[in-house]
Symmetry: C2
């Protein structure tokens, strides 16, 4: 567990125990630094996470105060909500959306990709240019599924550093994480099977379910912990679920990272109910803390978890290479790959081998995380200053999205349509929870430097929201 | 029509008219050159095509003779054979096969890819290295489906040069031709639909049918013309076929190129029966003649044809970029793409734009065709010298495969298993006609320079065949 997470948990406990009452001021950042012995940054992160969870609120230049909360939220005794979703036609929604935001002149606050400027790495390009001159980069002999042996070994090493047993043969290299996720789902299901999704989730999961003819069960997010274990277990009991597709680190679009305790329990329940997990962990490297959060895969003693991630979110579309920790499902996934995309560019695979084995990747990640945190904090502060307190901004210490609850029930889709006319894209809730009534949310990409152009766009965004 | 094709047709007509009788010697190459006014190369190509069609046979150093043929073959009055194929489990066959031939020490006569040495292009690499240093090669903004606008325009221009109306918006860039073919089939069919395949065809078609749960109808190859129009029309009449998947240029694995007359009739029948065609034309640029053969797309007045091809067979896996002339189905195919692989490497798309627009591609293709013809002719001659006349070798003037009928009913799969033990791969008939009884065929990749190592492997291959 991270220091800030640990501190946030302690403070939460103290609030629940009545140490500070509602609307009472918490110790200032400086006081808390002295009290806890943690750095100012750790304390700030803890406070911001508590704020995102709705446990405290900030008053400008005055500090953090204990928020008013309904008892059932704090005690997490809310009624379990499980929905059997109707056949959702998500695909056309997403297609039209993606088409509308492609134009170069649109300010891409709706984009799923980090600002390409941040992913640019001169060393990567230099290695790529060198590799481009080698004949071996054009030969598929060593690059057919499951992919380049050296690259798979380097990936396996990274798992081992996290304490996760992994052999190069457990890994299958794919065309980005999206292919890893889709092939995993295809390998594990038949049309008509039940899968479990989070109520709010990356739209790719909804699309895959639609394409493969699967029945979707959703469980709601837990307002405090992100993941609702009670609903999860209830759903596993109630439905013949074959596979779960979950995102538990730097959740897209909301942003939360679920605690290790919950992940461990998820792994136990998977084994108990013999349900497979496709773990979408594409933002694992974008946690601002000193180490990356553990995946459920870490707690998986029985090969129930297929862990999917990629280099696309850290090195960009020029390195559109992903992978799945497939373990015993490696052959099944390669079968599917040989029928669809066949192989991932030998050139990119070779380049990644050089880049990673010479330790350039870690350095790049450090710089990337530093910038993402700086930009996201700036966006968060600027938005706080412009938006009314009824407009709740979820800030978490990872990734490059802010999830924003819109005031007065303003529908994200309505806002999106207004803003796109003004040359600004946002990602409305509809993309992530197409079957759900509460649509007054949006996701904002804030991986941009605070330029005059960005400031103008944020002003326009805030004005449009406030006019409602 | 090519000169050699025209000449072959004339000679065929004269044989059928009784100008030369069975076992009578045809004019020598030199005589025929003088008679016809064509070049020696054209005459040789015509004779070799007639030989491949079984109309003439060669005697070493003595010349070409009229072959004995059963009347029904020459008159193409064979009974129509249409099969409704059972659910074929092709996928495991192909998977195990591809795995077995991957090892670096295996002589890759079974490979589907041309020898990577031939695809190497220094200019391409140089441009790729330059592009690798540009930030725009890492930005997906202009490279999302349907793909880079400039690249699509260059591809459209190439269609226009062939006399095929084409707009950049008709094209969707894909991860190789395999994705183009698969997405096209997925866009046009529902599980349970009927599709029509050639009896002998690239195994990817069988795999796609299996994966999408389609019913397969096959029609046999015509022994003389490659494509059997009568069976085709009969099948369209008899079954509710939704889509055909055909290969008519440099057919894989057999090698024939169907005449323009037949292609025109296919286009008419497609419209008459309202059936779509997915045209696999991956070898369109590998015809040794001066111009590339027309696709059915050329005769398609009603947007019934989706034409699929790629750069992978001409520039190698380093340029794993394909496309489909999707026309009105562009949106449907992009839908599917956004759910699976999302986008094709911006770097490769940019590189191809530079490479093609500076006319390097045509030069590369000329050199590639020159080498492929040289190597394939050498293989053909050397095999003729080593194998008994009962072992029929199909030679056609394109691509890099020889299709070989094995003597004494020797099963291709049996031969494959013996040869793989000796470190040589071949592609047995089972991969291409999994539902058919006659398995005494193999496909041989002959895109290799005639080195001592290759000669040893060919000797071993010939010995193993002759020992049967």
């Amino acid at each position: 567990m991270y220091k800030s997470e640990k501190l946030a948990q302690n403070i939460r406990q103290m609030i629940e125990n009545g140490v500070w009452k509602v609307h009472e001021k918490l110790p200032s950042l400086r006081e808390q630094t002295q009290l806890s012995g943690y750095s100012l940054m750790t304390v700030l992160n803890a406070y911001q996470e508590l704020e995102a969870q709705g446990l405290v609120y900030a008053r400008d230049k005055s500090g953090y105060y204990v928020a008013e909360r309904s008892t059932d939220l704090v005690n997490s005794k809310q009624p379990i909500q499980i929905s059997l979703s109707p056949k959702v036609q998500i695909n056309s929604v997403v297609f039209n959306y993606l088409k509308s935001i492609q134009a170069a002149e649109i300010v891409p606050f709706g984009s799923a990709f980090p600002n390409a400027e941040l992913l640019y790495n001169a060393k990567f390009m230099q290695i790529l240019a060198q590799q481009a001159k080698r004949k071996s980069s054009y030969n598929n002999q060593n690059h057919m599924p499951p992919g380049n042996q050296d690259l798979r070994q380097l990936i396996a090493n990274r798992y081992q550093l996290q304490g996760i047993a992994c052999h190069a043969d457990d890994i299958v290299i794919t065309s980005g994480a999206l292919e890893a996720l889709n092939l995993s789902l295809q390998a594990l299901t038949q049309p008509g099977d039940f899968i479990l999704l989070q109520q709010t989730i990356f739209y790719g999961a909804w699309q895959a379910a639609e394409r493969l003819g699967l029945q979707v069960i959703t469980i709601p997010e837990h307002p405090q912990f992100g993941f609702d274990l009670a609903s999860f277990e209830q759903a596993l009991k109630q439905y013949p679920i074959k596979v779960c597709w979950l995102m538990l680190n730097a959740h897209n679009p909301i942003g939360f990272t679920v605690s290790s305790e919950i992940k461990q329990r998820i792994a136990e329940l998977l084994y108990e109910y013999q349900v497979y997990l496709i773990e979408d962990d594409v933002y694992q490297e974008l946690n601002y803390g000193s180490s990356k959060p553990l995946p459920v895969k870490y707690f998986d003693q029985h090969q129930m978890v297929l862990h999917c991630t990629s280099f696309s979110k850290t090195l960009g579309m020029g390195a559109r290479v992903g992978w799945v920790y497939a373990g015993p499902f490696s052959d099944a996934i390669q079968h599917l790959q040989l029928m669809s995309t066949l192989t991932v560019s030998p050139l990119l695979q070779n380049t990644l081998v050089e880049f990673i084995s010479h330790h350039h990747y870690e350095k790049h990640l450090r710089q990337l995380r530093y910038n993402l945190e700086k930009y996201k904090k700036k966006f968060y502060q600027e938005l706080k200053n412009r938006l009314a307190p009824t407009c709740k901004i979820y800030y978490y210490s990872s990734g490059y999205f802010l999830w924003i609850e819109l005031p007065n029930g303003l529908d994200g889709q309505v806002l999106y349509e207004q803003l796109i006319q003004k040359g600004i894209s946002i990602a409305p809730a509809l993309l992530f929870k197409p079957d759900h009534a509460s649509q007054h949310y949006m996701r904002l990409n804030c991986s941009f430097e605070w330029t005059a152009e960005i400031e103008n766009a944020v002003n326009l965004l805030a004005d449009t929201i406030q006019q409602k």
